[in-house]
Each structure stands twice: as C-alpha cells, then as structure tokens.
Amino acid sequence: MSNVTTLEPQRRMIQPRCAIHEDEGKIFVDIEMPGVEKDGLSIHVENQELIIEGKRLTEAETGRYLLRERRLGDYRKSFTIDDTVDTDKIEAELASGMVKLTLPLKAAVQPRQISIKQK
C-alpha cells in the first residue's frame, strides 16, 4: 500500500478537520488548527497543490498527565486545486484556532447572466 502514512518518531503530523463550501463564486475552506499562532502558520501553493501547515510554537507542558486526549503535533493539510481557482487572489485569515481560506474562482468559470434583447 503506497498511501500508508509513515510517522516520524519525533513529530506527528495531524490531519486537521476541515469544511469546504462554495458560494458566490468563491470557495471557502475552514480548517481547525487549535493552538496555532500566526507565526506558526504557512500557506503555499506548489504545482496545483495548496498546502497549509501549522506549527504549535508553544512548548510542551512539563506536568504529569492525568488525562490526555489532545493530539499533539503539527498540522498539515493539502488540497489539489485546478485551473478554475485564481491562485493569486487566495486570502487567509486566522482567528481563534480556525484557518479560513477564501479561494476565488476565475471569472471565466463563473456562471454568467446573458441579457436577452427584444426586437
């Protein structure tokens, strides 16, 4: 199986949860990245791939764990995007642990209203 995730022993990569929807010629991508500050977030487009990486810059806690449910590690999410997305106009916003991306679609692929002339 080629798609088996290989895990680094030191740092785990977490696939964050996300929501994607389209509205009014834009695609909105919301990704959950609790604990990531602006400095730890990097978003780039590489060969039709949109890669969002979030690093937690806060240091690991030193205490003894009595309960441990949170998964610690860095976040990584990648999406394949096609020509319909205008990659120069991608906007990103980070607020309370949520990354909100706005991907505008190119005008050529958006539905267009055609006015009908009456003779």
């Binding site: 088996v4 995730t5 895990l7 022993p9 977490i14 696939q15 964050p16 949860r17 996300c18 929501a19 994607i20 929807h21 389209e22 509205d23 009014e24 834009k26 695609i27 909105f28 919301d30 959950e32 990245m33 609790p34 604990g35 990531v36 500050e37 806690e61 030193t62 205490g63 003894r64 764990y65 009595l66 309960l67 441990r68 449910e69 949170r70 998964r71 309370s96 642990g97 949520m98 909100k100 706005t102």
Partner: protein
C-alpha cells in the same frame, strides 16, 4: 545464526504502532473523513481535554477551535469542572447557502464535565482562551504543595 544486538533506540513506541493500526482500520472502514476522531471506537463530539498535574497547580487544556469567549461557560463545583459551549458552523459567504463539498467539523452545543483531582483549590481558578485553546489553571491546596523542611543540626 548471527546474534543481533537489541537496539532499543530504534524501536518505535508500541502505542504508536497501535495507533497506526487503528488508523489503518479506520481507513478500511472508510472513516478517515473524520481524521481526528478515533473512528469506530469513539464517535463522540466533545472537545479533547488534557489534565496535567504540576508542582503547584493543575492544568486543564481544551481544544476549542472556532469558539468565541462569549459562547463558553465555565462553572465549578467542589470536585467538578463543567464546560459548556456552543459553536455555530463555519460559514463563509453572505448567506451560507452555497454548495457544501465537505464538512468534517461539527456545530451545536457541547458539555464536558471533568472531575478534579483531590487537592484542587476551586477558589483559585483562572482561565484563558487563546488561539482556540482554553487553558484553565487550578491552584493546589497548600497542604498538597511540596514543602521544603529545613534540617536543624544540633
């Protein structure tokens, strides 16, 4: 037969291996669309909580991405900490009516109760929400803090 040296450092954590096995099973069952849940073993929608004991305090960390301070309610009884909150679904755009391609996030209200360990001083609690992580610090009662005892030589 050659005798191989037991190289302990190169061995992965056995629990990592179990985690991976579970992830593999989840993938087989098609549960990877919700990567952060533990799949068929647990499908609850409550935020993940860490509880730590430090020398002079207890620390509670809760992952709450996308939740604003005004939608959170934290209350405490002698041994129980209750966290209530609500999250509205992430909706961009003007009316949120558009086409949804994928939604792994949840919306609605949740409640989480954490029983506090013996010695937590519920009168001294502070909570802070930043970057989607809630950090609650609960002081330890004085009698549980480590104390230095001076030795007097006679």
């Amino acid at each position: 037969m050659a005798i191989m040296r037991w190289n302990k450092t190169s061995l992965p954590d056995p629990f990592d291996e179990l985690d991976r096995l579970q992830e593999e099973m989840n993938r087989l069952f098609g549960l990877t669309f919700r990567p952060d849940s533990t799949g068929i073993f647990d499908r609850s929608e409550v935020p993940a909580v860490d509880l730590l004991e430090e020398a002079d305090k207890f620390l509670v960390l809760v992952d709450l991405p996308g939740i604003e301070k005004q939608n959170l309610e934290l209350s405490v009884a002698p041994h129980v900490l209750t966290l209530r909150g609500e999250r509205s679904g992430a909706k961009g755009g003007k009316n949120g009516k558009g086409h949804v391609y994928r939604n792994e996030t949840w919306e609605g209200s949740f409640q989480r109760t954490i029983s506090l360990p013996e010695g937590a001083d519920v009168d001294k609690i502070s909570a802070e929400l930043s970057d989607g992580v809630l950090r609650i610090e609960i002081a330890k009662k004085a009698e549980l803090k480590p104390r230095q005892i001076s030795v007097v030589a006679k």
